[in-house]
Amino acid sequence: MTDRTAASIADRAAAATPAGLTRRVRGLSDRAIAWLFIAPTIVLLLAINIFPLIWTVYLSFTNYRANRPGRVIDWVGTRNYERLLGSEDVWEYMQATAHFVSWTMIIQVILGLGLALLINKNFKGAGFWTTIILIPMMLSPAVVGTFWTYLYQPQTGIFSYIINAFVEVGPIDMIGSPGLAPWSIIIVDTWMWTPYIMLLSLAGLRSIPDYLYEAAEIDRANTWQKFWHITLPRVMPFLMLAVLFRGIENFKMFDMVVELTSGGPGSITELASINLKREAFEKWRTGYASAFAVILFVTVFGLGNIYVKALNRVKQ
């Protein structure tokens, strides 16, 4: 299918520039170049993103199982969706996801904005320390999850040791205890992604012209008033952008948490994506998992729409 599209576009491009027609346009016409340049990307995305997506939607209405390729596929209508929406377990996974997303966002906004306000004071060495702070954000989440299991070791881990140096509470089993496990993933995510919120907040702070503060100074505004009436409204679009993007990413969170807790203990940190992987690639309930995937995708797509609107607002 994709080959034919590519070929027909090439044909059209060729047709648009007959050999003799070099008087008016030399070489390819603008329109032909535009399509020739854009088409490969679109074709690739159609083949590897959109086609699979449509397939997922189709599978979500069947009882297909990928580990039994030969079996006849039965159309089951909306049964998968009914099961999903009626399932208490799914509701729990969604709650675990919501808990993770909301707490990571709240903590990271406070820390990230706080750091940005401090860095914006332009002390000596600000650039150096900022670069150091940014490093965790660029690392592989799965590998980060793996090595935090080592840091979180209750008896021998450095995390428990450092906490105990301040308050003596004995060995802390971050990953193994049901009360702490949700916080173990929130802490690692905060460590990794606070820099993201910080970086965007900093961009917002640097976009505020000095004269606004000077005018406020003349009006005898105090520090709090300046923050509330000038800084916050100006940083808000950037903060919104950061929260939306990270919110979407954390809603889909998979790699770091799989390696850190793999959903446990029990299913306390079983986020939506982790359960989806279990259904699709361990239990091989492909149809059911596809329905779950569609629900997640629709949610992300809705959020993505808002994200692009926010993006355009910040751009202006």
């Binding site: 340049f37 997922t56 881990g157 970086l199």
Partner: protein, 318 residues
Amino acid sequence: MSARATTAHSVVEIKAAGKWFAGILVAAYALVAVIPLAWILMTGFKSPPDSISYPPKVVFEPSLEGYVNVFTNRSRQTPEYLESLGPPKAWYDKISRKRNMVITGPSRFAGRYMNSVVIGFGSTFLAVFLGTLAAYGFSRFKVPLKDDLLFFILSTRMMPPIAVAIPIFLMYRTLGLSDTILGMILLYTAVNVSLAVWLLKGFIDEIPREYEEAAVVDGYTRLQAFIKVILPQMRAGIAATAIFCLIFAWNEYAFALLLTSGNAQTAPPFIPIIIGEGGLDWPAVAAGTTLFLVPIVFFTVLLRNQLLRGITFGAVRK
């Protein structure tokens, strides 16, 4: 704050004190944030008993055992058998003999690492190549439904990988692309091309149109103007975009976990399963992790002024 209480200080001094205080707080955060990384770096040079000692050892006798273990497979032998082998031939033999082990061959780590390199560079090259063309098309020409197409391109990046993985798994199984390097390159190219288009479009938008127009007046065709005038101007932007794509491909885990196993597996799904005898061999895991993360830290420092642009798809430029 304390400066304000004593009226003798001037406003300037208060500001200086505030700066100093801010510097201390930020440095403190940075130092705390760096502990996990420093700890992993150190663990890579510990011996296995040191890595699980209580209290955790900050001062220890450095050992290359972790690095030897991550690159080799070993088997435990009786002292009598070790005796019969004669003296160890190389320094790494010596290290494993100390634990009554014999090196039986290289581990899969080097191969997994190379897969990461090949798939990373292959997909980056393709994504940047396609992205440059598409970005130029979107930046310079009237394209019908331009905004919708750009949104479509971005939205593909937002999809949850696991949701797309189900049909891609089926599709690759049918096409014979599962667990192949080519399959992974194509997949990562598709994920990265959206970022590449958005970032590169931002960079091209910044190049004045007059450059090309002047070139066309000089007798260049559109295509020649693009190749000889625009491309050289984009060099920095292309480099930054390429690094972002490379980092994504390097770090990717979900697709690699689900679509590869014996042949095309990359390092991220492999590092967690570096198992030693009786549980995880932490120094080996730490050694593998260090080798895997060092290039990223290097690129992050290199890219620090472009990061903002990269993480917002080119929308925020400072």
